[in-house]
Amino acid sequence: MTKLCALHEAVTRFISDGNLIYASGFTHLIPFAAGHEIIRQGFKDLVLARATPDLIYDQMVAAGCARKIIFSYMGNPGVGSLRRMRAAIEGGKLDWEEYSHFSMISRLQAGASGLPFMPMNPTGAQDLAEQNPNYRQLQDPYTGADVVVVPPLIPDVAIVHVQRADVNGNAHVWGILGEQRLAAFASQHVILTAEEIVDEAVIRSDPNRTLIPGMVVDAVCHVPFCAHPSYTQGYHDRDNEFYLAWDEISKTEESVQDYLDEWVYGISDRAAYWEKLGPKVHQRLQAGERLSEPVNYGDY
């Protein structure tokens, strides 16, 4: 039973105002196309969770989609700060809930595992825990030592970009894995975007590569170049020039609005966006080829 549908349709069907959304991907596979579609459809009051909000959430905050962010590192990776989000927080216009990377991911691990909390060893850093009541302490019942715990994070919708998937949502993922798998299992609904839709036989040729099984996926959307300006390992490179450019664009609300008008509201979908980027950018971001050595599963 195919779950294939257009991205705009999946966003309409599975996302509602006020939802807790987790658009996953640690520097890699960040589903920008889905973020842009959410902006285009004008969703409001979203709670946006991501370990690293990256430019995608900076843009969604700037577009007025969010009432709150949940995060563990709010920076423009390798460049500097996320200016719109920072301004919104400093201006008292955006609610936030903050973790360290490990406690953020531990929340997903608890959510994905169906557990009421995950334990962590103490870090000695109390200031954040004092500001965030989700951090609690327990005593190790074996030694009496302190243990820090965080509760599960169970997003309404995870958006997960992958390299290749079949129409049932069974997905092969490689390169940096971040929290892709945990976000999918933790969430109530999963929108999967894929660089390629492949025959089930391709997936079945390498089941150990299937990190996300179709049974947790609600919609499968074929969205090549979904991750630009971040990247998809083996398909296209990270557009570092855009990460630098955003540092300029995001300096004022006006230039951000101009950007959104031109690159989000002004276009229909990711195919149009990619075409608009033009052949020079396409060429600059080519990935080249380094194939994995196959493995034999045996003809049992």
Binding site: E98, A125, L177
Partner: protein
Amino acid sequence: MEAINYNQQELMVVNAARLLKDHDTVFVGVGIPNLACNLAMRTHAPNLQMIYEAGVIGAQPSRLPLSIGDPSLVTGSTSVCSMYDIFTLYLQRGNVDVGFLGGAQIDQFGNINATVIGDYQNPKVRLPGSGGSMEIAAWANRCYIITPHQKRRFPARVDFHTSIGFLTGGNARTSTGVRGGGPQAVVTNLGILKPDENGELVLAAIHPGVNFEDAQANTGWALKKSADCQPTSPPDREELRILREELDPGRIYI
């Protein structure tokens, strides 16, 4: 002997590299720490193991990585794992010898603030936050910090403990139960600070041409000098050649 010219970034990279030991497993960031690790690997520490927070082990990037998740870190690496695994199986399990840390403020006891200037709920300047540094500072066996030496970066007390050094000194750190040894050195453009037996950062080495007063003037507490404070050796030709020709020919970080 002919004088060798080098800039402050090169000076810091070279001095950080020298702190690494052969066979160390290092949690590497991008930028200066990445250069320091690669320099160490090409000089005295050929068996250095580099781990990236993004989950990459044994990277062999064909270009200078510009982000912590650069695709060139993955292609040709020995192993890639999830974020949860990197923090549990590697860092929390005790498989990481060295972590590099940074932040807007480093205080007298090596505590770091990368979260907020001013009040947390009503921030004057909102900084990026912990990322992985809260755990790296606690659980890596040793930590190093590389930063320019400026008074605003070295207050007596940080506004917010994003990650801990020795807290208020004495046994304050060990009594929290963290496994790692804490910050072992802060490499600046003026010299190297190291914790004394009480966990207070003192001037442990001083770069050529710098005097103690320069360091004191750029530090927000009454800086002490360790009994064995020595000048550092300047970067040598080979170190600079590797840095300039092999590691960062585009001069992005140096």
